[in-house]
Amino acid sequence: MEASLLPAALELVSGGGAGLSPEKRAVLGSSLLLLQRDYRFERVWFWGCIQGVCGAYYIAEGLGPDRAAPRSRLYSLNCVEWSLLPPVTEEMVMQAGRLKGRFQGDPSFEYEYTERNAEDAERLFEDGKEPVIKEEARLVATIEQIDRAVGIIPRGAFVKTPLGSVSENRNFEGLSLTEAKRLSSYFHFTEPVNLKNKTLLEKADLDPSTDFLDSLEHDIPQGSWTVQLEKGGTVVVLRSLLWLGLTFYHVPMTKQYGYIYFGNGEKNLDLPFML
């Protein structure tokens, strides 16, 4: 969520019980501003916190002029000193997908492979040493997977200019209460996958400046989002069941929205059994 809105937003997402201590809140106010200065970001988003066994990673993302471009990600162990994470590659995502278990809390921790298949065996012969994956790479891959799978925005919050870049929609006044309860009013803020598969009839109703992303309606499995009204019905909170810990909030008829992740960093693969 937007760094400048952090204090108010933390109050709204605390329904799940996870949040930040006053110390962290106080330091984030200044350290995120300094990040913006040092890295020349246009926007800084506080992405959330991944709990490891011994410590926690606090993640921030920085955005440039095109909001849909790949974002720079930074992590910190204490919210004071931030380090830039390497950009993500498909190989990292694939390797990290095979790891199971909790994060340790130490970025230089090395995981050992438990499964071997033919490809790994070949690589072994080439390099002469065992393939290991560092926790840092796992962290990057996990953040990328979470953003890709469950990073969401309300419909109309971003517009695509004719030149192709994406920017915030200054005319966005918020969703109405009925719209906010429907899953089709929220989009994944990532490269669209299903958009091309829509029928021509459906595409005719879309507005190409605001409807250029996938909506949540067709997420598999169905029911992997919970939509609740909290605080007496004034805040709409969406929680993802696929990545437990991701919380999205929006106050209807206002511009306040954002998502944040507080969790283990593990995908909930038991989801089909639990619904």
């Binding site: 019980g17 949040g19 066994v53 278990g101 639990m274």
Partner: protein, 552 residues
Amino acid sequence: ERGHGPYQPHEPGYGLYQPGYSPYDDQIPDPKSRTLAIRNAKAYLLKSSTTSGLNLYDHLANMLTKILDEQPTNAVDIIENISKDVKWAHFQKKMDTLRDEHEILPTFEAAEKRKALFLKANEEGDEELEEEIGETPLPNVMETAFYFEQAGIGLSKDESYHIFLALKKLISVQPIQTCRFWGKILGLEMNYIIAEVQYHEGEEEEETEEEAVTEDGGKGVGEVEDEEEEKEKEDEPPKSTYKPPPVIPKEENGTGANKYVYFVCNEPGKPWVKLPPVTPAQIVCARKIKKFFTGRLDAPVVSFPPFPGNEANYLRAQIARISAGTQISPIGFYQFAEEEDEEEEVEGGRDTYEENPDFQPLSVAEMVDSLSAWVHNVQSILKQGRCVWLNPLQKTEEEEENEEEEKAEEPDELPQELQQEIGPPLLTPLSEDEGIQNIPAWTAQPSTSLIPQYAVAVLQSNRWPGAYAFASGKKFDNIYFGWGHKYSPENHAPALPPPVQAEYPSGPEITETRDPTVEEELAFKAAREEALAAAEEEEDEEGAEEDEEEDD
């Protein structure tokens, strides 16, 4: 003789050399034409659209007025949106003769309920105030929330305060001795806020009586049926010899897994609902399934193995498991009462404790460093589903009589000898907790490393993610915020259905063999005919006599 003096407007060539006039003005000699052109243009702009009834002139005027009033930055970039907004606004103000009924949003009702929490009941006079100042079962939720907040755990202050008031309402309604905010469990449609409560002695005997009545009634009906069946035994198909495994009785209210009573509500302001006591069968089944809570207590739990109960029972079972696994206190805070004889408690272990008046709190650094500074203060649940082991094969006198009659029919069933299950005793330190794979069962951290003098020791459970505990000096508490499931690094594998039962016991009397094939049958037939032919030749003489006899 006037030279090329100042040209008058009506003269041709007037505009050619004057500043501010284009050279082409010359081509419209008649100024009236310009006004005519302007008027035509204006008439065109004023033409109402056939579809919407608006006209462009008014619309442009409104738009420009709006822009000049609001003066947005970079107006040219958002001009289309401004135009759309103006058009939209045009349709909003309809002067209807009917006044719109004020929309009653559901948010208003919810706000009403929350406001009701804050109203002081009128009947409470000054007498009640004295009681409250003294010992009150109401826990100081805000104080606990403050300590947890130091570690970044907890709900927003608003919500905590609402829960505080909701608990106060609960206490005023029910006869409660101790009360604690247990935590919050998230669900699909709604969430649960849970309060852990202990009644005053002798206050909650209502439900047990109802259950005893139904049991007696059931036994009476069973006896009558037996007599009828004995008469018709020969005509009935064979009775099933299946005997379900004995049902393990649940623990008494006030002991073991049912030591505390739990009340839940979906939101502060809604009425509190009491959860039924938990039975061992429910706990055993809850260990095998993993389902999300929907938020409605009467929702069915569809799972395999089938859960005996609805969501209220499943919730209660999970609460019991979480409490047994994660309710902890600093060592020394609770101690066993010294008056009990040690000879009595062999089977169950001690299950009561009292506060230690001489408790000396350890420093925060010590609480964080070693896990043996913490102990469990809730009995763990055995595999059977109870805290105190019970042998289900112990029969009462009535059951033994029935068994003697039926024993003849059950040569196969042997009562298995069950081993007594023993769990860790109460007040075991956390260092005995086994971790999962290579992760310890608990993660301990101080709330802040910058100000160690006022830090709070915080423990997070790794086996039940969402269970937290804090300790600071003499204060400590436990809480749970989460989805209500245990952590397992392996994926959940649901139980497989049991193997297909045998229809009948396979023995020398009845065995199953394959049907003979056509070739085998023909071969058998041929062989038999040969044998018959051979026998007939021998018995031809005797056979003729027999035939004559049979003909008679």
